[in-house]
């Protein structure tokens, strides 16, 4: 394992320290926590929005803290859900009295820890609403299992809920638009290489010289199948087919597209993927409102990508276009 780190057990703390140094105009760190909040939190008259999860997905989630997106990000250990006390501290710090929305990715650990924190906050008299993101179509959606994972589509939920909250909407309104976003966003990823949790010291899984994993999660959880390397066009087609099967789109529908790198994928390759994605959507006469290409929800130094599609109506596209000023997302 070659990484630019000091102590594998200190990576989250060191990272957050460096982040605060770099972006003290936007962020502050709640003392003695791994919680990053807006410099001006709590923003009076505004619903607070909190997201978070394990670290290792940077710029998620602290990169989205700022005007027009999140009020707070709770950063767990690498790939490990943060604990309820930290989430509670974040809720307390960003609540201006208008309540707090928790944006949770659908993982058992995140679900349980955020729920416990929500219960504690409610016991203190803070209004809390929750929205669970489960955009990953690689996972079967069944009531008998834990359901689908939340992956890169979460960034759209941050953006849209954050934009509405910035306008002074109520907690119920912000919750509703966040849920609407979740209902309209689908994603799927694939990996070319594994990644190494620093404290684990070795890769989470193995892929052969010519093997790729289709439907990869963002924590090294395996996907649908291991297969041999294919062309960018074929991979784009596979991911997009799976998404379109699940998110039926008609001619003239409007979407936002996110081509997300998992950490070690050159932008060049993401654009090559997008070439095919835009071709396919054009053929189907689906209108791309905006395309986001880059690293939005990573998995340490994993090579690979995910594609997300968000079906837009007028409200969603207006909120997507609204101003945002965060480290990783500016509009």
């Amino acid at each position: 394992m070659k990484k630019l780190i000091n102590d594998p057990n200190q990576v989250v703390d060191d990272m957050l320290a460096g982040m605060v140094e770099a972006h003290s105009d936007k962020l502050k760190r709640l003392p003695d926590t791994n919680v990053m909040i807006r410099k001006d939190a709590p923003v009076s008259g505004k619903v607070g929005i909190i997201s978070g999860g394990g670290s290792g997905h940077e710029p998620a989630h602290a990169g989205y803290v700022g005007k027009g997106m999140l009020d707070g990000a709770v950063c767990g250990e690498v790939f490990t859900s943060p604990t309820p006390d930290q989430i509670l501290a974040a809720i307390q710090a960003v609540d201006s009295g208008k309540g707090v929305l928790l944006i949770i990715k659908n993982y058992t650990g995140d679900m349980m820890n955020f729920e416990m924190a929500a219960e504690m906050a409610e016991a203190e008299g803070i209004q809390v609403a929750k929205v669970v993101v489960n955009d990953d179509v690689a996972v079967e959606d069944s009531t008998y299992t834990t359901g689908r994972r939340g992956i890169a589509g979460t960034v759209f939920v941050h953006k849209i809920a954050g934009a509405l909250a910035e306008q002074g909407a109520t907690l119920a309104e912000v919750e509703a638009v966040a849920k609407k976003t979740v209902e309209n966003v689908r994603s799927m990823g694939m990996a070319l290489t594994p990644c190494t949790v620093p404290a684990a010291g070795k890769p989470g899984f193995e892929l052969g010289e010519n093997e790729i994993e289709i439907g990869m999660g963002i924590h090294g959880e395996p996907g649908i199948e291991k297969t041999s390397i294919q062309s960018a066009d074929e991979i784009a087609q596979i991911l997009l087919n799976n998404i379109l099967e699940d998110l039926p789109l008609k001619e003239h529908d409007k979407v936002a597209v996110m081509i997300n790198g998992l950490g070690a994928t050159p932008l060049m390759e993401l654009y090559i993927i997008h070439k095919k994605v835009s071709e396919i959507l054009r053929e189907k006469r689906i209108h791309i409102h905006e395309t986001f290409v880059g690293e939005f929800m990573t998995s340490l130094e994993m090579a690979g990508c995910s594609i997300s599609l968000l079906k837009l109506d007028d409200q969603l596209s207006e909120l997507l276009d609204a101003q945002a000023d965060t480290i990783a997302f500016k509009k």
Binding site: G54, T83, A199
Partner: protein, 209 residues
């Protein structure tokens, strides 16, 4: 039989030792069907819990269990943190104000812990989780007057090993579907270590409920 604060402390210390020894192993198991942090999570949390209780004085088992539970909730993270944390918290309610636990109180505490796990995680037997160890072990405790160390360790080991053939329905391994078959569930293994360290405490005469 009577189980007191000193004995419970020794158990937690022993459990922590076992978890530290098996940190890499638990992480490897989690790499196969999860995200590779179970050993790291458990080692971080148990170490904190062991430190915490070593430095504190307890008048009753309830406050000891509460401290362990709170520490696990605050330090483990992931799925296992809220689960183990809740288990200890629920047990602490049963053990509140008790300097010692007799067999019935002991079993009632572990039974409450299991209820806490089920309440929190909503998993059922067969879902390939720690429940697949806890549920049969608690049932066995309830139905046996004497909790024999060797039987406890054998049973929890057997149930842990049985998770290998299950298809995961809960937790991160569920995303693998059939590909989860053939691998031990990491949480079932840490639960086995929990019961095995309990059994060892009994054998060492550190306690004998």
């Amino acid at each position: 039989m009577l189980w007191n604060v000193e004995q419970a402390k020794k158990w937690i210390k022993r459990l922590n030792d076992k978890i530290q020894e098996n940190k890499a192993y638990l992480t490897e198991l989690d790499q196969a069907i999860g995200d590779g942090d179970h050993g790291l999570n458990m080692a971080r949390g148990l170490q904190e819990a062991a430190n915490k209780i070593a430095d504190s004085h307890y008048d009753d088992l309830g406050s000891l269990f509460k401290d362990v539970g709170m520490t696990l909730i605050a330090k483990v993270g992931g799925a296992s943190g809220p689960l183990y944390g809740t288990a200890f918290m629920k047990a602490s309610l049963v053990l509140k104000d008790r300097k010692e636990a007799d067999r019935n109180a002991f079993v009632a505490a572990f039974s409450a812990a299991l209820d806490g796990l089920k309440m929190r995680g909503k998993a059922q037997v067969g879902d390939k989780t720690m429940i697949d160890v806890w549920d049969p072990v608690i049932a066995w405790m309830k139905s046996h007057e004497t909790i024999r160390a060797n039987e406890l360790v054998d049973l929890s080991k057997e149930k842990m090993e049985d998770t290998k053939e299950l298809e995961a329905k809960k937790g991160r391994a569920a995303y693998l579907g059939k590909r989860s078959v053939g691998h031990l569930d990491p949480g079932a293994v840490s639960s086995y270590l929990l019961f095995a360290s309990l059994a060892e405490s009994f054998e060492k005469g550190e306690s004998a409920p």
